[in-house]
Amino acid sequence: MTINKQLSAALSGLAFLIAASASHSQVLFWSTQAKPVEEAQAMRDQVLSGADVAVDYQPNDGGPWLTRLQAELAAGSGSIGVLGALHGDFAAMDTRDLVDLDDLGLEAKSATFNQLARLGTQKMQYIPWMQASYIMAANRKALEHLPSGADINALSYDQLIEWAANVMQATGGAKFGFPAGPKGLKHRFFQGYLYPSYTDGVVRTFASDKAVMAWEKFRELWAVTNPASTGYSFLQEQLLSEEVWIAFDHTSRLANAFNERPNDFVAFPAPAGPEGRGFMPVLAGVAIPRTASDMAAAKKVVAYMLDPETQVKTLRATNFFPVVDVNLPSDLPPAVQAAGDAVAIMSASEDANPGLLPAGLGNKGGDFNRVFVDAFERIVLNGQDIRAVLDDQKKVLSAIMEETGAPCWAPDAPSEGACPVE
């Protein structure tokens, strides 16, 4: 090669390296949901391939997701067209950074979801996109150890503890699994399941005597829980490896177990306590950041996501359920059927005590979760005194509520002004 040729080759290589990506003909869908590699692939191949704009679906960990988004907002321009994330992620954002979406005329079937999606403003800041919940799942081998007289579709916490104890006695190992790992959703269990079931509240009753009882119960449950749970974040793995026979987790984090071995597992509602059967939804939404370069195309994508047909495709791809009215086909994947049935029984049960997602906490959502996680780690893992820990954490919780002024949400009784910790 002559020097000239080498030089021009080098230069063209450099040009290639520096060249910013060509015009953004695709809408970048920047999401924290449907992260697992095959779900992401299914989102691209089966869901978004049908949109009439080209969509580049990129799921990310929370860290990079947030960093990129903050950078684009700060720089005032960027490549993100559509955001996909949980209600909590949007709630933490400044609503001025999200485009009002009322003009799309899109909404969820549930008025509650639509209210949440306004994020305290008058207009839709995101559009509810898909929903899920937390349920229980068990290996069929565990069923023979159910306490006598217990109905798996109407378990109490006491029965669950007894059941897990029976299994432990029979197998020699603790086989209840709980998502207490670093990425596990343990805080949602306390906020949406344990507290409503035992105290009929979350914030008001945080440090009540009933709450002390709830934590005592949880300690009992923990005694028959696989101690490796502090490393569990996706219980489908431990169900499949049979480290765990009975598990609590997010429906989409149990899905692989049902899809891979549909005949080996059953799904059923969360247990009930003295104050009913507490449970909580998971709500994901789609939004458009103010920096989106092609607003029209981004809106098209949002509208496409709410189309009933897309919603069914999304259900197949991600195990998240539709938020609009759809006709569910009969050939859904096993995980969807199992989870769908369990959620339906849970919501229709007589003692149902549904909780709402925390609202009005703004960017203190993480601190709110940490109150519960800290209480768990101190009470259960470090064995500290329950009353002392709750009194201590109560101060933190009060400060968060006062700072944000967030009013109470169900099952707490409504409040005027900030929800008080009693």
Binding site: G63, G173, N226, P227, G366, N369, R378
Partner: protein, 281 residues
């Protein structure tokens, strides 16, 4: 060219590059740690340090580094000495020993969890050998020692190669005559290692140790994979403040603590392993 300008000229590119790509963003981030509501304050540090997890995370980080780095140093020295003495297959052995270098910490976490989890390879082996009927839970809050050991082993496996490569390159520069001369005077291999190899290797030792120690204080992915929520370290707290609590002031404060510890240890190592004047001429 005037000779006394030469060193400045040589370090100019690094200085400019790091000034632009490290110092500028660093100053912006670090500033956040010292500002509360627009005024200078040490509030973030106080708040971060008063959280009950902070002392635990600090202790874990330091203990892990103190347990892991010396072992890695000894192992890397052993490997480097062994490999330089080989006559056949040196390339291959060295290659195998450097393999973990190519494995990211996230991937290493996945691999080692597959070994230590309850249904993992270690338990499979124990059961197959008849050393237990049911697989026991190895990584649990009831056995913090085991959790620590697992994390330490994984870190030793993953990151010893960093030191090895630096030391091997350094050992290669030690002239053979020194060893020969030492042999002539009747020095045993151990004495030769102690009196000849180690002192002459000092610059490389220093580099290897400093880089390794700094990275050890930022340990994260392997710890999260194996320790779950049982083994908080400073880096995991930084992540929690930045991405869960959305408290960039708090995150910056912990990051500065990491930085401070790293600087302190670096200064100590640089002092202990001073490169003698002679070698610099």
């Amino acid at each position: 060219m005037r000779p006394h300008l030469l060193p400045w000229l040589l370090i100019l590119p690094v200085t400019v590059f790091l000034g632009v790509f490290f110092l500028a963003p660093f100053v912006m981030v670090a500033k956040q740690a010292f500002v509360v509501d627009g005024v200078f304050s040490l509030g973030h540090f106080a708040q971060v340090a008063s959280h009950w997890k902070f002392p635990i995370a600090l202790k874990n980080t330091l203990l892990l580094a103190l347990a892991v780095v010396p072992v890695q140093l000894a192992l890397a020295l052993l490997m480097a000495t062994l490999v330089t003495k080989m006559r056949k297959g040196r390339d291959l052995v060295l290659y195998i020993w450097t393999i973990p270098l190519g494995i990211s910490d996230l991937a290493a976490g996945i691999i080692w969890l597959a070994i230590f989890e309850q249904s993992g390879f270690l338990n499979s082996m124990l059961v197959a050998l008849g050393l237990g009927e049911t697989p026991s839970v190895l990584l649990s809050y009831q056995s913090p020692g085991m959790v620590f050991l697992a994390i330490a082993l994984a870190e030793i496996w993953r990151a010893t190669a960093i030191m090895l490569v630096i030391l091997v390159a350094g050992i290669g520069l030690i002239p053979k005559e020194y060893h020969e001369a030492a042999s002539v005077f009747g020095a045993s291999p151990w004495q030769r290692f102690l009196r000849v190899t180690l002192p002459l290797l000092r610059p490389s030792l220093q580099t290897a140790l400093v880089l390794r120690v700094i990275l050890a204080f930022e340990v994260f992915a392997v710890v999260v994979a194996l320790g779950g929520s049982l083994f908080p370290v400073l880096m995991s707290e930084t992540y929690a403040y930045q991405f869960e609590l959305l408290d960039s002031g708090g995150a910056a404060a912990i990051a500065l603590v990491i930085l401070g510890i790293s600087v302190a240890f670096t200064l100590v190592i640089l002092r202990i392993l001073r490169v003698p004047k002679g070698a610099q001429a």
